[in-house]
């Protein structure tokens, strides 16, 4: 029986990405007879993609401006394909199905103004995605495994027109629960560290290697929330059932990790 073990990129793509990407990912998942994911994927979703959407929504509401929101998005992006003004022109052109006749614009006033209509369509779609993603986070697979006692699964709340997304980080009383689980198999940790150390030099890999080294060399020291967060891909490789395939869009990083433990990974494309 083919089993899928879902990684965060797939969860985010299904819940938060535009239709065609979500459909491709759902179709890939549907090829498996059963599917599961660790609670850790929900933790990563909340601290990552969902937090970004909440930030964008709040930026729209606070600035009351598409232009300023797009400028803010561009200021935090690593690449900038085009200027904010060009992006708004593209958006205005794409949003034509929403625009009513000039007679109705006169009749309804500002609410029917094309700029306002485009702004509200984007704002309402972001709102729908934020609420919908949280509602369905546990419904895209058959089971959610490895509960994390120190992670509070509280969702976004709307307060005074803005979303609040609290408790993005775990609060372990003594030690991260996943850390305790990982320490039970030091041999696997050594194999995983060996792979991480051969991966391209990026900040996330050096943090991951450091966290693994700490777990291997000092198993009696508590695993912190920061270490748990830095471990990222390693957690999925470690927790994946031996007879399951880790489904991810980040095959380049995940594949060597799972292979080191005799497991498999696959991507939707």
């Amino acid at each position: 029986m083919a089993k899928a073990f879902i990684e965060t990129t797939i969860l985010a793509n299904i819940l938060l990405k535009p239709g065609d990407i979500a459909c491709r990912n759902k179709a890939a998942l549907a090829k498996y007879e059963t599917s599961s994911m660790p609670t850790y994927a929900i933790k990563e979703l909340k601290a990552g993609a969902l937090a970004y959407y909440v930030w964008t929504y709040n930026k729209l509401v606070v600035t009351d401006s598409l232009a300023n929101t797009l400028l803010a998005i561009r200021s935090v992006m690593s690449f900038q394909p085009y200027r904010a003004s060009t992006a708004i022109e593209a958006l205005a052109s794409a949003m034509q199905p929403l625009i009513v006749s000039s007679e109705l614009q006169t009749q309804y006033g500002k609410i029917a103004d094309p700029q306002q209509v485009i702004f509200d369509s984007c704002r309402l779609m972001l709102k729908k995605l934020i609420i919908g993603a949280w509602k369905r986070r546990r419904l895209i697979c058959d089971s959610v495994l490895f509960p994390i006692g120190c992670f509070r699964e509280s969702g976004p709340k709307e307060v005074d027109g803005l979303f609040e997304l609290e408790e993005r980080r775990c609060k372990p009383q003594t030690e991260c629960e996943l850390g305790l689980l990982l320490k039970k198999d030091p041999k696997a940790l050594v194999r995983l560290k060996g792979v991480v150390d051969t991966q391209p030099q990026k900040r996330e890999n050096s943090r991951r290697s450091k966290a693994l080294r700490e777990l291997i060399r000092n198993p009696k020291r508590p695993c912190t929330e920061t270490m748990c967060r830095d471990l990222g891909d390693v957690i999925f490789a470690f927790l994946a059932p031996i007879d399951a395939t880790v489904l991810t869009t980040n095959l380049r990083d995940i594949q060597p990790l799972v292979a080191a433990l005799g497991k498999k990974a696959s991507s939707p494309d």
Binding site: P18, D20, Y52, L91, P97, V100, Y108, D120, S121
Partner: protein, 183 residues
């Protein structure tokens, strides 16, 4: 396929709105508290009066009824195997939905549903509508008609019904917002 409407007769909301514009149902209070309690209640309710005289409240029920009628006919045609007529009724729904989006001051819940319906139909890019699509659209419109001031949470449930029926609700150009998640 009769549809109850919160705008039409029968609901407490419409009765309240037409009989006593701007007031909610009278509160039951002890006789000895009249004089102090009632005065403060009126003052409080004055602060939260929805403006029922606005254009969208006048037009929204009419537009919702039109849209339900069109979707109902589309469902019937589809059941009769008349796909072309079903699709045509669905096409006629689109300008009605555009105007309904001008009534989104009724609330974000209302706006979320109408926005989803507009993009769900637009993203078909002219492809003939399927029975599951039109059934979902009719069901969602009926739900909004019976509860136009629905919460965002309830609205998202309705939007998810449209997605489950196979409609893609993402606005064209929305990747401007999702791009940063790719890089």
């Amino acid at each position: 396929m009769a549809t109850a409407s919160a705008f039409g007769g029968g609901s407490s909301l419409s009765q309240t709105a037409s009989n006593q514009p701007g007031k909610t149902k009278a509160e039951v209070v002890a006789i000895d508290s009249i004089g102090t309690h009632q005065r403060s209640t009126e003052a409080l309710s004055d602060l939260y009066i929805p403006d029922y005289s606005r254009l969208e409240v006048g037009r929204a029920p009419e537009l919702l009824r039109s849209s339900i009628e069109l979707s109902e006919r589309a469902v019937e045609c589809m059941a009769d195997g008349d796909t072309i007529s079903a699709d045509d009724y669905t096409q006629r729904l689109q300008p009605v939905l555009r105007e309904l989006f001008c009534c989104r001051a009724l609330g974000d819940g209302f706006g979320i549903v109408v926005n989803s319906l507009i993009w769900g139909l637009h993203n078909r890019h002219g492809a003939v509508v399927e029975a599951r699509h039109i059934k979902a659209i009719h069901s969602v419109l009926s739900a909004v008609c019976s509860e136009p001031f629905l919460s965002s949470d309830s609205a998202v449930d309705l939007a998810l019904q449209l997605e489950d029926a196979g409609l893609d609700l993402t606005p064209t150009g929305f990747d401007l917002f999702t791009e940063p998640l790719n890089g």
